[in-house]
């Protein structure tokens, strides 16, 4: 088999050469350093570095809050995508543009805004305090920041599939006697599930590594609201490169395992997928962080 299919267009060799060279220099070589550094540690030392109570707490908080936020986003993101594809209302264009705000707004800006809003003296924080709920400086605050960051991933993953969904399917279900709820549950939802899961996975993966929007509202109390990325920064400030590398490697490893699980779930959710159709449309990665 030949490496490249013939094409009359010029410039393949230099373009591909430059692409691969730049990719190697900027991404692959620097990133591989992280793996070599981890391998250098050895299993015993690696385990030693990540099994400390502070590290396991930080990892647990990062993954638990990212999971909670991704679940909130899956529910509300689905509703938002549905409303924007199916219904018409005033101000739709404006709201539609705003959905992408978390992609464009720097995380530090989101961080200080959310922290101000939800602190004890902030508008919303004050409101929640009255009913006895503390948000700033608790894991709830982290979940709120990660919900902000992850929302567009779900909405923008579900929207194209929902737009492609053929109304005839719903009409057919209805004409066969299904009520609206049955049609949604048995016909529409299974078709949307793969896209919903991929939006969920993107939001989750982004949430686990999130730093800028989290550190202001989290308060960063060790064992309570300290996330794994912050622990990496703290270890680097102490010149503990081995410790920082171990936490980063553990984060990547757990994310990787969870994403494989989500992928398997996605494959299972596509078991009824027809061979044609656009169910597996790629999410709008162009605007994905």
């Amino acid at each position: 088999m030949k490496f490249k299919t013939n094409s009359p267009l010029p410039g393949f060799a230099p373009a591909l050469f430059y692409t691969v060279l730049y990719l190697a220099l900027i991404v692959v070589i620097p990133l591989s350093g992280l793996f070599f550094k981890t391998a250098e540690l050895g299993l015993a030392q690696f385990w030693d570095l990540i099994s400390g109570e502070r590290v396991t707490h930080a990892l647990m908080i990062s993954f638990a809050t990212a999971l909670a936020a991704a679940m909130i986003n899956a529910v509300f993101g689905l509703i938002i995508a549905w409303v924007f594809v199916r219904y018409d209302f005033t101000g739709k264009g404006l709201f539609d543009a705003i959905i992408d705000l978390p992609f464009a707004l720097p995380t530090a800006v989101a961080g200080i805004a959310l922290s101000t809003l939800y602190s004890g003296s902030g508008w919303l924080g004050n409101l929640f305090n009255k009913v006895g709920i503390e948000i700033a400086f608790t894991p709830i605050g982290i979940v709120i920041a990660l919900t902000f960051i992850g929302l567009p991933f779900v909405v923008r993953s579900v929207e194209p599939v929902l737009r492609e969904l053929e109304k005839e399917l719903e009409e057919a279900a209805a004409s066969l006697g299904a009520n609206r709820w049955q049609t949604l549950y048995h016909v529409v939802f299974p078709t949307l599930l793969p896209a919903l899961l991929s939006g969920f996975a993107l939001a989750f993966a982004r949430g686990v590594g999130e730093y800028g929007s989290v550190i202001f509202i989290a308060g960063n109390v060790p064992y309570v609201s300290e996330v794994a990325p912050l622990l990496i920064v703290i270890k680097l400030e102490e010149y503990d490169y081995a410790g920082a590398t171990a936490v980063a490697a553990a984060m990547l490893l757990i994310s990787f395992v969870l994403l494989i699980l989500i992928n398997a779930l996605q494959a299972w959710s596509q078991r009824y997928k027809a061979s044609s159709g656009n169910v597996n449309a790629a999410p709008d990665k162009g605007f994905v962080a």
Binding site: F3, V27, I98, E171, Y211, G286
Partner: protein, 286 residues
Amino acid sequence: MNPSTQKNSIKVAGHSAISEGKLTRWVLTTIALSFLILFLLLPLFTVFAEALRNGWQTYGKALSDADGLAAIRLTIIASAIAVPLNLIFGVAAAWSIAKFEFRGKVLLTTLIDLPFSVSPVVTGLIFVLMFGASGWAAPLLEDTDIQILFALPGIVLVSIFVTFPFIARELIPLMQEQGSDEEQAALSLGANGWQTFWHVTLPNIRWGLLYGVLLCNARAMGEFGAVSVVSGHIRGETNTLPLHVEILYNEYNFAAAFAMASILASLALVTLAIKAVLEKAHGLKH
């Protein structure tokens, strides 16, 4: 029953069954919009409200602070280097991936997407492991005066890494969709490769390119975690705008922090506005 009435009857019977009732629509729309207002609009509004809390005079003073101006300058310089580099890469990558068939394309595309899934802090970490005091690439720089960490090159490097896939990702589907018929026609009419690219390909992709550049720029200017790790936080020297926001906020200088943040928020709003306009005018929606 003749076919036409049968079709009609399905439509009539289906009317209530293929869409939700008025009340359900209203409830769902209210939930969706309330969520967007609560989680997105309110934080955005807070940025500007807090920036102007002490009046325009304080706002103006905060914006003209010397350290602030130095941070703005550094941010502009860093993205002025990072964005064009990613632009050249994006065009080269899209040209080879969208216009040609070759083995290993899927792997290449996956690797290009890789920076999307690396935490910003980990991005900073990998460059510290590379160029730090005992970094594996440090010996390469030993005999030179080049300082990478805690200096402009480090900030540029992580900015490139973090925004690496944006322009390529925007161009690849666009160029795939357009195919290469027009380029082949130009070539057969005697145009050379560059002429074909400048006069045929580039005009076709210019709006997608513009949008990719804007997005890449917004992210480069706003990057926080990765830059925070490699910059060293030297005030007036290696502080970018987002890092300066953090310092001011941690010093309880909230008005100044939000004034600086409002510049970045305005940049985000301009990016979103141009995106909306491009989508409407040129059907860029994927």
